[in-house]
């Protein structure tokens, strides 16, 4: 499906908003307002934004700890205030302050998150079973990093989805590192997309810094899933600009990440690249760019203020949160 100008502007706007939210959470952490931790996703805005432009609220999505999902949850419709308030531990947070960094908005197709890397793959296949049985063309987007492919659940979930032609789109953001472990020692090949071959499903590689390329690639996979033809694996080649975990040095293995490598990748900032293209094509003007930037900043400022002023949770919630009626 050829992408329209309006869709491109939305992609750009959402990437800007995601970046601003990421910055806001980092500031909140260093201001002592974020109660737990934060794993920045700067540099990886494109895959989530592109995928969410192809999904409706009836489609399901599992995100990862990278950016605590902001690159997916925000473009899928979760209010920034709910995300920040959750990080601030407030009662108005997406999980009522219970999780500290999860986003759970099931009406938007976001069921939440667990705490083990790769713990959601099999759940994604299960949502695929439900979607298939319901027969309304729902799709499940299951995001993963390169590190998560080490889990056995990656295999069992993929196997189930391939066997039963479940409507799951696996989107791997290969940023070359799993926590502090480089992919070169965690995986014996260069391309994670190769794993798809073992299951007889499409495995496609795409430049993760090119939001339109990701959009077009995911579009094919989503259409395939909606048509009942089964799952796909998409590998986005991407990179995280900041350390794995905020407040820590940029550890890799027993040393530090190579600064030259970081600087080289920063030249391929997905937002800058797209902005350049949109300006060149005359789809956006300089004034538009400024306006989008300004609106995003205002949005996050308002959301942060809301979170700051929200109350902390009443422990009464602990009594009803364990079991449903």
């Amino acid at each position: 499906m050829k992408i329209t100008k309006e869709q491109m502007i939305k992609l750009y706007t959402d990437m800007v908003r995601v970046r601003k939210l990421d910055e806001t959470l980092i500031n909140g952490l260093f201001a002592g307002k974020v109660q737990g931790f934060y794993h920045s996703q700067q540099g990886q805005e494109a895959p989530g934004v592109a995928a969410c432009a192809l999904l409706s609220k009836d489609d399901y999505l599992f995100y990862t700890h990278r950016g605590h999902g902001v690159g997916k949850t925000l473009p899928k419709g979760v209010p920034a205030r709910a995300i920040i308030a959750e990080h601030y531990g407030k009662a108005t947070g997406s999980c009522g302050g219970m999780a500290g960094f999860h986003t759970c908005e099931i009406e938007l197709g976001i069921p939440g998150l667990g705490g083990t890397v790769g713990g959601e793959f099999t759940l994604a296949s299960g949502m695929g079973i439900a979607a298939k049985m319901r027969g309304k063309g729902q799709v499940v987007a299951s995001f993963l990093g390169d590190g998560a492919t080490g889990r056995g659940t990656f295999h069992t979930a993929m196997l189930m989805a391939a066997n039963w032609k479940l409507p799951v789109v696996w989107i791997c953001e290969n940023n070359l590192y799993g926590q502090f472990v480089p992919i070169s020692i965690a995986y014996p090949k260069e391309n994670i997309a190769d794993l798809a071959f073992g299951y007889g499903i499409p495995g496609v590689i795409v430049d993760g810094q090119d939001v339109v390329a990701v959009y077009e690639t995911v579009s094919t996979a989503v259409d395939r899933a909606r048509a009942g033809d089964g799952p796909s694996l998409i590998e986005c080649k991407t990179y995280r600009f900041r350390p794995h975990l905020e407040g820590f040095p940029d550890f890799i293995g027993a040393g530090l990440r190579n600064e030259e490598e970081v600087e080289t990748w920063k030249k391929r900032d997905p937002i800058e690249l797209f902005r350049k293209g949109l300006l060149e094509q005359g789809i956006l003007t300089g004034a538009d760019i400024e306006r989008i930037d300004h609106e995003a900043a205002e949005e996050m400022e308002e959301a942060e203020k809301f979170a700051s002023e929200s109350p902390i949770p009443d422990p009464e919630i602990l009594k009803t949160a364990l079991y449903a009626d």
């Binding site: 793959f121 099999t122 319901r134 189930m160």
Partner: protein, 322 residues
């Protein structure tokens, strides 16, 4: 009243619930032909979309149930042997048990894992276990464990209708046992223990196959020594009907807790602690426990030295009375 087998009671519960609610489906390895005969007629009635024979992937079987439940369906998994729950430990203890709580109590996870338990079939350490303690320790799960066909049917229907993850333990040695089961539809609520045998000298608390073994010992001791044993079957461990247990203890003042699983850190310890907390002043003797030896369950001829035997229950009753 008609008498039917335990396995057929399970079959009826599944058939009724799957007929009643199209979001209920069954998933597991070879569930279209369950080794213990609980699946007769399923595939013909409900087809391959709702009777899903999976690859040998316990993590995907259990994990997919969590996902399907989140997406509005009511899956029932059959894990074939409860020993295999360990393969899906993250999916059971961290995902199924904790997801709702960790995500602010905003979602429900209506799923059932049917887990065949039990030994006395000489099938060795990883095909004979009773793993109730393993899951009871994770808050967020409910646990049902029938000892009769009547309880099997009523508890399974309730488990499927419950909006929480339920582990339903079905004992393999009970599959061919028979009991009265009404034709009319009924359910059994969770958290209601059943007094399987009334007595006044000693209280036995037991589950699953140990209920039947205890009843046999009770009958023998009544005949041979005039000892009157009351047998309490909790039927669900979570929620646990401690009130019925305590009422019995207040009456008899002597308790023997019988569990087929390993003694250490098991079901007997938890129930004993709760009895002590609630009825300490009523006890005339220390609580006796009968459980499996602290070792894996050997196969073949050595199994009998590890799993509880009727003489162990009789000896515990004599001890608590002495």
């Amino acid at each position: 009243m008609r008498e039917i087998m335990f396995k057929d009671a399970i079959n009826e519960a599944m058939t009724e619930e799957m007929t009643r609610d199209e979001t209920v489906y069954l998933i597991g390895e070879g569930v279209s032909r369950d080794p213990w005969g609980t699946s007769e007629g399923f595939f013909e009635k409900f087809g391959e979309e709702r009777i899903r024979d999976s690859a040998i992937s316990e993590t995907a079987i259990v994990g997919s149930c969590v996902g399907a439940a989140l997406a509005g369906y009511r899956p029932v998994a059959n894990i074939m042997f409860s020993d295999f729950l360990a393969i899906a430990a993250d999916e059971t203890l961290n995902k199924a048990a904790k997801w709702r709580f960790a995500n602010g109590g905003k979602v429900t996870i209506p799923m059932v894992i049917r887990a065949p338990i039990g030994g006395y079939s000489k099938t060795g350490p990883e095909h004979s276990q009773c793993t109730e303690a393993f899951v009871w320790h994770a808050p967020g799960l409910k646990i049902a464990i029938p000892s009769t066909p009547y309880d099997a049917k009523g508890l399974l229907k309730t488990a499927i209708r419950d909006n929480n993850p339920v582990i339903y333990f079905e004992h393999k040695a009970l599959m061919g046992t028979t009991g009265e089961v009404p034709e009319e539809e009924y359910t059994i609520p969770f958290g209601v223990a059943d007094i399987k045998r009334e007595g006044k000298d000693v209280t036995i608390v037991a589950t699953a196959f140990m209920v039947q073994m205890s009843l046999g010992v009770a009958d023998r001791l009544q005949k041979e020594k005039g000892i009157s044993v009351e047998v309490i079957d909790p039927r669900t461990l979570e929620p646990l009907d401690i009130d019925t247990i305590v009422a019995s203890v207040k009456k008899t003042k002597r308790v023997v807790i019988v569990d087929e699983d390993v003694l250490r850190c098991g079901v007997t310890g938890e129930i004993a602690a709760q009895i002590m907390e609630n009825a300490f002043d009523f006890l005339d003797a220390s609580i006796q426990r009968v459980a499996a030896a602290n070792m894996p369950i050997a196969g073949g001829f050595l199994e009998q030295y590890i799993l509880p035997q009727p003489k162990d229950i009789a000896a515990a009753i004599e001890r608590v009375l002495s």
